[in-house]
């Protein structure tokens, strides 16, 4: 059912190269889910999110001090090792300090034709944020036009918004199925769909999602009947970990990750005539990354709502080692979940995770949650 998505996730580089050959278009890598991809789709550019490989590496030590998160180092390693040698451009939207080092080292040591640092506002709760971001998106659009030599019209932007919104709507529908007693898709399968969403042309991804949603009702009931879990925290595209959790009778029904729901949760609403402002509103109002969740803690309310809507019994709180933004949020979020009766298991992730040790901890956590059912 999800073979196509799995293939895209596994063979992301082959896909991008083939896309480039087929279309003659440009491919840009991007760091961070705050990059307004609507503008890239408007310009017929394929945006590809830069992710790590989860393989030990020894090429970033000279470039990023070891106290920064393994994810940013893993991402940079991909660039230094030439895994993304097909990229025409590289972009980042400002979020945490860690990931921007992957960007700044990459563009120095592996130059690309076009690079852009979008100083995305951190104070998304300020009434000034939308206007400011709209100005920055306009400047970004102008830079893209200059690079490609082609004007981006309002109609192009409308098309870009439509492509992005449609894809978000479809994956939302997939997530709706995860509210069912025994969801037809597992957490692992969902993650394959979510990751590939950020790697391939969304028009193709949406077609595949249409097919998936069309066949989903034929999945026999009872396939994913483990203890309902939420997973949240730092960037996480560690499929083997999710597979392990589900192999011991847990079912991941919802997440709060930038590779998952935070990426696609809300849409652009063309409600005031200015398309760029509408895009800015979408990115300002999306579920926040912890680096932007201040002064009010909006994440807690959102996470508790997800936990309620998806009827989770426990939450696995993961954190990339040294990930300051999440380290700053986890105590408050864990407290809130526990106060709401949702038990938490905290795990610290590295480029590779000790699956054996984590399995013991996850099993113990699930046993603890299941005790409530027994007694």
């Amino acid at each position: 059912m999800i073979d196509q998505f799995r293939d895209w996730e596994k063979n992301r580089h082959a896909y991008a190269k083939a896309w480039k050959e087929k279309t003659g278009g440009k491919v840009t890598g991007y760091f961070c889910s705050y990059v307004p991809e609507e503008i890239l789709y408007a310009a017929n550019i394929l945006p590809v999110r830069i992710l790590g490989s989860h393989e030990p590496q020894d090429v970033t030590e000279a470039h990023i001090f070891g106290m920064y998160c393994p994810f940013c180092r893993d991402c940079l390693a991909q660039g230094l090792k030439g895994k993304y040698d097909y990229l025409d451009g590289l972009l980042i939207a400002q979020s945490c300090l860690h990931i921007r080092q992957a960007y700044t080292s990459w563009i120095k040591h592996v130059p690309v034709d076009f690079s852009y640092y979008l100083p995305f506002p951190n104070n998304v709760q300020s009434p000034r944020a939308v206007t400011y971001l709209a100005g920055e998106i306009k400047a970004f659009k102008t830079a893209i036009e200059k690079w490609t030599g082609k004007e981006i019209t309002d109609q192009d932007i409308r098309d870009g918004i439509k492509i992005m919104n449609e894809n978000r709507n479809l994956i939302h529908r997939l997530y709706e199925y995860k509210k069912k007693e025994n969801p037809p898709v597992s957490g692992e399968e969902t993650m394959e769909v979510a990751i590939s969403q950020q790697l391939v042309d969304k028009k193709e991804h949406s077609e595949a999602l249409h097919k998936l949603l069309g066949s989903i009702n034929s999945v026999p009931d009872g396939k994913n009947n483990g203890t309902r879990l939420m997973i949240l925290g730092s960037e996480n595209d560690d499929i083997p970990f999710i597979r392990m959790v589900e192999s011991v009778k847990g079912t991941i029904v919802i997440d709060d990750h930038c590779i998952g729901t935070r990426y696609f949760w809300n849409n652009v609403h063309e409600n005031n005539g200015d398309l760029i402002t509408s895009i800015a509103e979408r990115y300002i109002n999306r579920p926040a990354c912890p680096s932007k969740d201040w002064i009010i803690r909006t994440r807690i309310k959102h996470i508790l709502q997800l936990a309620h809507d998806y009827r989770v019994k426990g939450a696995i709180v993961i954190q990339q080692k040294f990930c300051d933004p999440h380290e700053l949020d986890i105590p408050a979020i864990s407290r809130a979940l526990n106060a709401a009766g949702i038990k938490t298991l905290f795990l610290e992730f590295d480029v590779t995770v000790p699956v054996g040790q984590f399995k013991i901890r996850v099993e113990a956590f699930l046993e603890m949650l299941q005790e409530e059912d027994i007694f």
Partner: protein, 436 residues
């Protein structure tokens, strides 16, 4: 090589610097007794803005407070452990953990209970900045908190949209201050504070340029006690006046070849905050005749710089030196935002290569033999890109030594290992311990 033997003398204004620092912590603590207000926030926050609430409004800046705690190792370890017990990771900013620990333990560095601020006033360029006071507010049971995002890109790329974003937040901040304090805002006091901040931070840069002289009139260990005043109240007349006095004294030292260390024969700079509990490593360097003349950190954390006509790096010309008369609130905020956006230590948040350029400039203009980089586990903001800085300095032909540590968590600093690295570095540069 003949070992130099320069005149040396303690700084005459040393005690005055100490007094200003002591008064700062005391004034904050006793503000309520005099009917005044207390606010807490970062050393980079726009302190000139709350100054418009009156002369009886006293700040406590978190980073120097965290550093002061670090210097008191016993208190610091209790603060760290208190913070960790609350579930916070030990690799977070160590200033922040010291500060939180002081709040959790309800103990003030100067004795007594931790004086609860009336409001928190912060700025944000590092991931930890706003979150520091978000958590602090949680720990205090809820304190009104305002934070201004200043992360709009490097100064060379500032445009109207970016400046307006910051000044817009500043205007909102003033309305918020009036609302939460019930006080009427005084624009004249804001304007005065902006002038003072520009004067103080430009003067500090001018003082640092005097360290281009050989022998250096100041050593970095002493500079820490001087630049810190700018991290406490850079907008105050008291600090600006002190820097005028210090400038005169340092000029006198240069004219009369009064050295910071008598055997100066090797000049180095450091980078990022030092391990505050182990400043004696700088004294160890001196046994080789090596002086640390400062760093981008000491020069540019509060000092404001610009390219001078002769191509050198020097103090930024203040609005008052340019004859600019600040007309009103909006004008004052624009001047304040523009002034701060050129801060050297804000540039590397967007690219380590901008920092490397400034470091190379210091290495050349201050005539350095080598560079010691503190890979500081305690500060994700200032250690950002440090590995790329190392590569750039090496590429330019400067010998570089690195040592790993933590500015505020003594558990992550190995003194013996650092001294041993210094031995090797000095040997590489051709210097041995001077036996007198």
């Amino acid at each position: 090589m003949k070992i130099p033997n320069y005149k040396t003398a303690p700084l005459k204004c040393w005690n005055k610097a100490k007094e200003i620092r002591d008064d700062f912590y005391k004034n904050y603590a006793v503000a309520h007794e005099k009917g005044g207000l207390r606010w807490s926030g970062g050393a980079w926050s726009f302190g000139a803005i709350p100054a418009g609430l009156g002369d009886d409004v006293f700040p406590l800046t978190g980073e120097p407070y965290g550093a002061s705690i670090a210097f008191n190792k016993q208190f610091s370890i209790r603060c760290m452990e208190a913070t960790e017990k609350k579930g916070f990771a030990r690799d977070l900013c160590s200033y922040m953990r010291n500060y939180w620990g002081s709040v959790i333990l309800d103990e003030y560095i100067d004795g007594g209970k931790f004086p609860k601020p009336d409001f928190m006033w912060q700025d944000h360029i590092c991931c930890s900045h706003a979150k520091w006071y978000q958590v602090a507010s949680d720990l205090e049971g809820g304190i009104p908190t305002c934070c201004i995002d200043v992360a709009v890109g490097p100064y060379t790329e500032v445009n109207e949209n970016r400046l307006n974003y910051i000044t817009g937040q500043m205007h909102d901040g003033i309305e918020w201050l009036e609302k939460i304090t019930g006080r009427k805002y005084n624009d004249d006091k804001l304007i005065e504070a902006v002038y003072n901040e520009c004067r103080a931070t430009s003067l500090w840069a001018e003082i640092c340029t005097l360290n281009k002289a050989i022998p250096a009139p100041l050593d970095e260990k002493s500079m820490y006690s001087l630049y810190v005043l700018g991290t406490l109240e850079k907008h105050s007349k008291k600090v600006a006046d002190f820097y005028e006095e210090l400038l005169d004294e340092v000029k006198y030292r240069v004219e009369n070849q009064i050295a910071a260390i008598k055997n100066e024969r090797c000049r180095v700079m450091s980078d990022t905050q030092p391990p505050w509990g182990f400043l004696k490593v700088f004294r160890y360097l001196e046994t080789f005749g090596a002086v640390s003349i400062g760093s981008l950190y000491t020069f540019g954390l509060i000092g404001m710089w610009e390219d001078k006509e002769d191509g050198s790096w020097g103090p930024r010309t203040t609005p008052q030196q340019k004859g600019i008369k600040i007309k009103d609130r909006d004008h004052a905020l624009k001047v304040l935002a523009d002034w701060n956006l050129s801060k050297p230590e804000w540039q590397h948040f967007y690219s380590p290569h901008l920092k490397s350029e400034m470091m190379l400039r210091i290495a050349k203009e201050w005539k350095l033999n080598g560079i010691m980089l503190h890979y500081n586990r305690g500060c994700e903001g200032l250690s950002l890109g440090i590995a790329e800085n190392r590569l750039a300095l090496i590429d330019a032909g400067f010998p570089v030594m690195t040592f790993e540590g933590n500015m505020g968590d003594e558990r992550e600093f190995d003194e013996a290992k650092t001294s041993s690295r210094m031995d090797s570095f000095m040997e590489t540069l051709g210097f041995s311990v001077i036996n007198e």
